[in-house]
């Protein structure tokens, strides 16, 4: 098992450190190829990547700390399933942090930064054209993280990174079909505001962008998700 059977782990480049496995799992979750609730068996993952459970375990623990994965003692690791409450909290946090970051980004952005943002948007479009909505979603998340990075706030950027990750899970769980315009316009406008150094406008655009996103989710407290069998079966 220690050998690397037929390129099963082509993703792993130099050293099979646990970060590689973590990144691969993280990307799969962000792209909705691993959906909330999926069991992540240690042996299985280890076999896929050609590493021992030691490595897999470290990767899962790290993902668990980012709340992408839920580890239950003696039960195993599962892709996390944020509750409605958590979903609302995540978006409240984003609405608190990200507009401020957008404003700072507009103040600090250098030409190279703007270019990078534009490239992100291009990649997003390309992914949509290639009928790869998972990849588009992941890139869209990276766009938001990039803005926090440009604002020169690595600490907050880290927070936003975990919020984006959980947002991906929330979208997987609570997205409502009908709204499909999917933000590429919003991102474009945001870049323009940042490019021209218009901080207040960038802040507003980010805020309304997040509100749009938030309202494209179905976070009503529907008592689906039956709280008790008695309630669920009383007909």
């Amino acid at each position: 098992m220690t050998k690397n059977p037929t390129g099963a782990s082509a993703v792993l480049r130099d050293g099979p450190r646990f970060e590689s496995v973590e990144a691969a799992l993280s990307v799969a979750i962000h792209e909705h190829r691993l959906t909330p609730g999926t069991k992540l068996g240690e042996d299985e993952i280890g076999e896929i990547f050609g590493v021992s459970r030691t490595i897999v375990r470290a990767a899962l623990q790290s993902l668990s700390h980012s709340q992408l994965v839920d580890m239950r003692r003696n039960r195993g690791a599962f892709v996390a399933q944020p509750s409605l409450t958590e979903a609302r909290e995540v978006f409240e946090a984003r609405e608190l942090l990200e507009p401020r970051m957008a404003r700072s980004a507009a103040a600090f952005a250098k030409p190279a930064d703007v270019a990078r943002l534009r490239r992100h948007i291009n990649d997003e479009h390309a992914a949509l054209d290639a009928a790869d909505p998972g990849r588009a979603l992941r890139l869209s998340g990276m766009f938001h993280i990039e803005i926090a990075r440009i604002a020169d706030q690595a600490t907050i950027a880290g927070f936003i990174e975990t919020l984006i990750a959980r947002s991906s899970l929330i979208i997987a769980l609570y997205w409502r079909r009908q709204s499909a315009l999917c933000e590429s316009f919003a991102h474009h406008a945001l870049v323009e505001a940042i490019a021209t150094g218009d901080g207040p406008r960038a802040e507003d655009l980010m805020r309304s962008h997040l509100v749009d996103l938030h309202s494209a989710l179905d976070l009503r407290d529907r008592t689906t998700a039956p709280r008790s069998l008695r309630d669920a079966l009383r007909r």
Copy 2:
């Protein structure tokens, strides 16, 4: 080594899960008994707590994710040493998040919550009277976290928890002696504002409390705080 030599690990109650080791190390760091830069050898820690390196490793990894510990490949784990830049970022983030949390806490606080906050302050005073400033500092941090919890924002409370942790390291590195009144008054006023449901006042008090704290640090860009031996010993 698997046996438990002479109660060295009295801290560990039921199962020697890695969380116990993590908590013990975390408390020691918060109380400044482990200072920034200290090497955290895996064997040594394992021997102290009577667990194997597997457990220690998991604990260190978790602490590393909280940025209390810096793990360098093939080098080992060290208590983190936040740079001046990181220090400034941490306080900017706190000044963005915590006043908002204080306002929400004032809106949501139930009598039991207020009682818990008062108890925290009492414990803080007791620790100071007992000439245990480390414990007082740790309790002071828990006070801030508790406010975010009362605001019913578990996600943001988690962020603040890591910010508090890093603040503790920052205080260890950059605290300037002269300012010593050490916040107990500020906390008291804050609790009163929260108890009376005065959100705006709580927000203001928190903001100025953080500004006070921030300005009690010496975050000037002096090249002191010897980042490297080269700098430290060039005379």
